[in-house]
């Protein structure tokens, strides 16, 4: 059981949870994730560790209520508990002084990008961030990202904040103007990471992405999260989730992410029915 110590709204249907998880906090590093389950009937949901506080023994998680299981998680309040929490899982990203790092975050991708930006900044790097969302209202962790960035740019689909359009457009013009960029970190929907990698390939800049395939156990046991990287079959849960973006087969990732679309619809239908009955 993992107790919710604090819960705060970041955007419509997106919440930040502070969880009492002293063992996980002790070992957490940027790039790690956890798997949580709300209740006996819930799915195991992988979530990036957004931040951690070793002294307080807490970790922060961002959850968007998009399907049955995440809705169930987001319905829990301060003082409630997640039935299961396992972690930290995956391989952390290497934090070292590289020079200038561009951090690109799309949508909920801010959650995994933030700890990388924060600790890369602490390690002495210059951080240029590009954060995108559908609308200004949906753009999360703006203050936190501003705090850890030397420069920051925003993009929204409707132009309510920053430039109207995609983060990749900003990335393209930025890389065109600047020669000092040493590395790019890009996390968001697979289609965004794919586009970002296409841009950085052009400029020949190393790019780290963080993949979110469908996962169950998170310990390398089921092979459900297999991804193809540089022609090799790897498991995102134990070999990743961060990989060299230029080597990732994004088409396959997107295809595999769609595996349960029909079932998700059916489950959602039941979820809605149950709620109406209540």
């Amino acid at each position: 059981m993992a107790k919710i110590l604090d819960k705060r709204d970041l955007a419509p249907e997106i919440d930040l949870f502070t969880i009492d998880a002293p063992l996980v906090a002790q070992k957490a590093q940027p790039g790690h994730f956890v798997i949580v389950r709300a209740s006996e009937t819930g799915e195991r949901i992988p979530l990036t560790i957004v931040d951690y506080n070793r002294d307080e023994g807490t970790i922060d998680l961002v959850i968007q209520a998009v399907g049955c299981s995440t809705i169930e998680l987001c319905n829990l309040e301060q003082g409630d508990e997640f039935l299961d929490l396992l972690g930290p899982l995956g391989e952390p990203i290497e934090i070292k002084e590289i020079g200038t790092v561009v951090c690109v975050a799309g949508g909920l991708g801010v959650a995994p990008v933030y700890p990388k930006a924060k600790y890369l900044k602490e390690a002495g790097n210059k951080i240029i961030s590009i954060v995108g969302a559908q609308t200004e209202e949906m753009l999360i962790m703006k203050d936190e990202m501003e705090e850890v960035s030397d420069e920051i740019y925003f993009a929204t689909d409707d132009g309510t904040l920053g430039e109207k359009g995609f983060v990749t457009n900003i990335l393209d013009s930025l890389l065109d103007e600047r020669d000092e960029v040493d590395e790019v970190v890009a996390v968001g929907p697979a289609v965004m990471m794919k586009a970002a990698c296409e841009v950085t390939t052009e400029y020949d800049i190393d790019t780290i992405v963080s993949l979110n395939p469908i996962m169950i156990d998170g310990t390398g046991m089921c092979g459900g999260c297999r991804v193809t990287v540089d022609g090799e079959r790897l498991f995102a849960c134990v070999d990743g989730p961060a990989f060299d973006g230029h080597a990732v087969d994004f088409e396959e990732l997107m295809m595999r992410q769609s595996h349960y679309e029909d079932e998700e619809e059916e489950a959602e239908h039941k979820c809605n029915l149950d709620r109406e009955v209540e």
Partner: protein, 458 residues
């Protein structure tokens, strides 16, 4: 010689539509008739065939006396998981293979009798159990499958303070996520683990040793010895084109979704599973049978087993192959997959196979399967399940560089003591390789527990 009693089974027509147990277990009358067949041999060859040395003639004699509680105590002195072993042990290769009656006719149904005694005992709820308060040194058990549970029970009985660490949400390991409900009801796994907890064993779920806590952390927390029984939690794939298409599962994933996450109760349980109408399972071991029969119960209309050798070489238990055949699982023998073909949306559509013939024996002693040139053909499929075996989960050794492993990632242990390259750390079960059955892993757990006891007394 009196005829061997057999357990009645749910009819195949009925059972393919439910997840209830296939075999019904002996009635008291059947058990008594079967117990009478035992010759009570002085030299007890059956006991030699048992990896955990259950005193078989002794408990059978107690069954004859109708003292089932005493029979249960006799078994439990050696075997912490009798209701499980009575169901999933390959008795035909172990105790029953050594039974003198088997030389001329049919051996005593030892497995069914063990199951009967264990089930009788659990039905008899009146017995009050008292939790032990152990005071010996602290011992950590990593992984709560058959080897870990056995080592935990043995060490708790010796008075040690035992903590069992499990990465998943509930203890049991392969007994929980792997073996399906219709072969091993999860209520029985829960109950046997409850008995082990009553010995004073503390279970900590959702703790992944290597990640949540390191081996170093366990020493710092005051554990004086560690047993690693992390099992064979790494799925093997065929490395064929199309293996990452949607609808292609490892048996580990398919069974974990069905068993641990109860996908067979979807959408009440939220974890989905894809089955479709036509399922092909590649492989012919017990896990392949479990996968095929699970798919059938989840609604598949045609399920086939694709195996590159013949029926004689199938590694599954004969009983499980027969059950699968009764349930009309199609055995496509001497067929080897060559390619998985998908549609435009990335879903599997066909499994391409090549016909095989058997040649001279290979290094495994089994006839080598040889592809017949230009004999490729395709099977239409909605789902393909790869059940060609598992390797040891590499996570703990990867995070513990001092823990030496073979090139196949098995943890290296001393043959006699089960101690690893780290002093005070022992290992057993599938992670050290070779065993692959519940009872063999339990045998390792038993031997390692003896060594740990000796190590802690020095």
């Amino acid at each position: 010689m009196a005829k061997r009693q057999t357990m009645t089974k749910q009819s195949s027509e009925k059972r393919i539509n439910n997840f209830n147990e296939v075999a019904n277990g002996f009635t008291k009358e059947e058990a008594m008739l079967e117990a009478k067949r035992c010759l009570q041999c002085k030299n007890k060859p059956c006991v030699d065939g048992c990896p955990v040395e259950v005193p078989i003639p002794e408990f059978i004699d107690q069954v004859l006396e109708e003292d089932f509680s005493k029979a249960s105590d006799t078994i439990k002195a050696k075997n912490a998981l009798p209701a499980i072993c009575g169901r999933v042990c390959p008795q035909e290769e172990q105790c029953e293979a050594e039974c003198i009656l088997g030389k001329k006719g049919e051996p005593v149904a030892i497995g069914a009798l063990e199951r009967f005694v264990a089930d009788e005992e659990s039905n008899e709820k009146a017995k009050v159990k008292v939790s032990n308060k152990n005071s010996g040194a602290k011992v950590a058990i990593v992984g709560s499958g058959p080897s870990g549970l056995t080592a935990a029970a043995d060490l708790a009985k010796l008075g040690y303070q035992v903590t069992l660490f499990e990465a998943l949400s509930e203890p049991g390991g392969v007994l929980r996520y792997g073996i399906p409900e219709f072969r091993l009801p999860k209520s029985i796994v829960t109950e046997e683990i409850e008995h082990i907890k009553e010995l004073g064993v503390e279970v900590q779920a959702n703790v992944l040793i290597g990640s949540t806590l390191s081996i170093e952390d366990l020493w710092e927390k005051g554990y004086k010895a560690i047993f690693v029984g992390t099992g064979a939690g790494l799925p093997y794939f065929l490395s064929l084109p199309g293996e990452n298409l949607n609808g292609v599962y490892s048996s580990n994933e398919f069974l974990t979704r069905a068993n641990l996450m109860k996908a067979y109760k979807f959408p009440e349980y939220k974890t989905p599973i894809t089955v479709g109408d036509k399922v092909a399972v590649v492989g012919a071991g017990n896990v392949a049978m479990d996968s095929a029969r699970t798919a059938l119960r989840l609604g598949a209309e045609e399920v086939s087993i694709v195996y590159r050798r013949s029926r004689n070489e199938m590694p599954a238990r004969e009983e499980e192959i027969e059950n699968a055949e009764e349930e009309r699982i199609d055995l496509k023998l001497l067929r080897n997959p060559t390619r998985i073909i998908g549609n435009d949306e990335g879903w599997v559509e066909e499994l391409e196979c090549v016909k095989m013939e058997l040649g001279e024996p290979d290094s495994s002693g089994r006839p080598r399967p040889i592809p017949i040139e230009n004999s490729e053909f395709t099977i239409p499929v909605d789902v393909v399940i790869i059940a060609i075996g598992q390797g040891p989960n590499p996570l703990l050794p990867k995070k513990t560089p001092e823990l030496e492993t073979t090139k196949w990632d098995n943890i290296i242990v001393d043959d006699d003591t089960y101690q690893t390259s780290i002093s005070g750390v022992f290992a057993g079960g599938d992670v050290i390789g070779g065993s692959a059955t519940v009872i063999a892993a339990m045998g390792d757990g038993r031997q390692a527990a003896k060594s740990i006891h000796k190590y802690l007394q020095e």
